[in-house]
């Protein structure tokens, strides 16, 4: 048994969510009014939770957020130019119901695939950016995710630009079979070339970064940042639990676990993320876009 539980982590969480729903239902509190932290169980007014950038005020768990919110809190206003917005999946292994599932998600999420890529500015520093959105099929990696990330790196290599990726994923997309596995090699190859070109790659691991994404581009950053309390790991928690037949500690496969074991450089709060990223770009000698008029229209 190996990667077969890439999605179970996610499933477990859905189960937890359901449990939580049932509990809240029993006291009949509308869930759009309240947020219950999946890590510590603390209940907060949703309004306060949203004001706090969707971070649990009690334990500091950084909840999953959609790509639009992520972009809004990371990039300078109106600076984002999207790549490959219309790219959508086909069905390489004729997986039953796959097209319908993707179509329904496109409708529901208002996005075409699980990652959005492009260029933006962060406090004036221009960068290639990619944001994975777990609302879309748990941001699993199929052909489109692999291709968009690969193109983003190729663009950055060609234009001597840094790449910042916000990772979140259940892993390889089962519905695309071997083709999904090959995206791990493809993206890693594009990163190798970007790396050889001497350009900077920063990974920001968000909830949840697991499976084939952890085992490829998420782990290859020159600098690896994690958001507090998020899930980061390779194998599914339940698979490991079944193997060792004992309960795992709560912080197993957390951002803090990664830091302690030497697989993340730093843990950064959402409220400080933009300033930390800008500092990093500055210290790698990237120049503020507004200081080089005329060269700015390249994108």
């Amino acid at each position: 048994m190996a990667l077969e539980d890439l999605f179970k982590v996610v499933k477990d969480r859905f189960k937890e969510d359901k449990k939580i729903e049932r509990k809240t239902d029993s006291v009949e509190i509308p869930k759009d009014l309240l947020f219950k932290c999946p890590r510590c169980g603390t209940i907060a007014y949703r309004e306060d939770f949203l004001k706090n950038k969707q971070v649990c005020s009690s334990c500091g768990y950084h909840a999953r957020i959609g790509y639009r919110e992520r972009l809004a809190m990371t990039a300078d206003a109106d600076s984002f130019v999207e790549f490959d917005a219309g790219m959508t999946s086909l069905n390489p292994i004729d997986f039953p119901g796959y097209e319908e599932k993707v179509a329904a998600l496109r409708e529901k999420c208002g996005m075409n695939e699980a990652v959005v890529t492009g260029t933006c500015r962060i406090r004036g520093y221009k960068t290639v950016i990619g944001i994975m959105d777990s609302n879309f099929m748990m941001a699993s990696m199929g052909s489109v995710v692999g291709e968009k990330i690969t193109r983003a790196f190729e663009y950055a290599t060609k234009n001597k630009m840094p790449v910042i990726l916000f990772t979140a994923s259940g892993g390889a997309r089962m519905q695309e079979g071997i083709v999904s596995l090959m995206q791990m090699a493809k993206t890693s190859g594009a990163i190798a070339r970007h790396n050889e070109a001497g350009q900077l790659y920063v990974t920001v691991m968000t909830d949840p970064t697991t499976g084939g994404v952890t085992a490829s581009f998420a782990s290859l950053g020159d600098i690896i940042i994690a958001e507090p309390k998020v899930l980061i790991g390779f194998a599914g928690r339940r698979v490991i639990q079944d193997t060792i037949r004992q309960q795992l500690p709560d912080d197993f496969q957390s951002a803090e676990f990664m830091l302690e074991n030497g697989f993340a450089d730093m843990i950064v709060d959402r409220k400080n993320m933009r300033s930390v990223l800008a500092k990093i770009l500055k210290m790698h000698n990237y120049i503020k876009a507004d200081k080089i008029p005329g060269k700015d229209e390249a994108v």
Partner: protein
């Protein structure tokens, strides 16, 4: 070519007595000298590696070790490597690069090991690093899937110039069991899953993942290990000198393109 279904092949590759790396290495290569350890943490018996000669060409051989009995399997963790196994493989590949030796990877694993220690030592990072480093390794790399090619744990030894598969081998992004348990919440329906997954050598040839299918004796490799070995040797002795003749920069571009073009999408 055999006309076995995917689930029949699954049964064939699990047959007791199917030859493993431990059978192929002495039969295909000469002068094998095993090298141990990743120089960081330890030595992982799930991956064997070393230098040997193929005809008269020095090569580096790296393989995943399926046990032939329970005792061997205990030692080799049922061919499920830990991070130190992948790091040993990378160390030997880098050594091969330095001395311009081709690398031959023999893939045979249900997957990378899933456990607490593997997570602590960075299983994800170890695999990712191999994908990146093998992509730019300045020496020819050939991978052969002997039986099971399970997911990222197999891919970590399969970023190569040419991927060959034994006729009945299966290579997939998730095990048939895992696929069944997600799709139908019933791991016991793995045979059905195997049919759906498109992971046979012919399927992978069509997807551009596999370049060469090495035929097996009728009924499977276990029926005639000598013939199987001869077929594998024949392929390697043809492919290794052919790849060595290529200009290394062209070879690396082709390696990149091989993976670069895999994917199906519309825009």
């Amino acid at each position: 070519m055999s006309n076995l279904s995917a689930s029949e092949r699954l049964a064939v590759i699990r047959t007791k007595g199917r030859p493993t790396v431990m059978d192929y290495i002495p039969a295909v290569f000469n002068n094998f000298l095993e090298m141990h350890g990743d120089r960081f943490y330890g030595d992982d018996a799930a991956i064997i590696g070393g230098i040997a000669t193929l005809e008269s060409i020095p090569v580096t051989v790296i393989g995943q070790v399926k046990g032939r009995n329970l005792e061997e399997n205990k030692r080799t963790n049922f061919s499920m490597p830990h991070p130190e196994g992948y790091r040993k493989a990378l160390r030997l590949a880098k050594q091969a690069e330095k001395f311009h030796r081709p690398v031959i990877c023999l893939v045979d694993t249900p997957g990378a090991f899933c456990g607490v220690e593997a997570e602590k030592r960075g299983q994800g990072e170890a695999i990712a690093k191999n994908l990146m480093e093998f992509m730019t390794l300045r020496t020819p790399v050939i991978s052969v899937v002997l039986g099971e090619g399970g997911s990222g744990g197999a891919l970590a030894l399969a970023v190569c110039d040419e991927l060959a598969m034994l006729e009945n081998a299966l290579y997939s992004s998730i095990s048939p069991r895992g696929f069944a348990s997600i799709l139908w919440k019933d791991a016991s329906r793995e045979s059905e899953a195997a049919e759906l997954m498109r992971s046979t050598a012919e399927d992978l040839f069509k997807f551009g993942v596999c370049e060469k299918i090495i035929s097996e004796p009728a009924g499977g490799a276990h029926n005639d290990p000598e013939l199987m070995t001869a077929n594998l040797s024949e392929y390697l002795t043809e492919a290794v000198p052919r790849l060595m003749k290529k200009n290394i920069d062209e070879l690396l571009d082709e390696r990149y393109e091989k993976f670069r073009k895999i994917g199906m999408f519309s825009e």
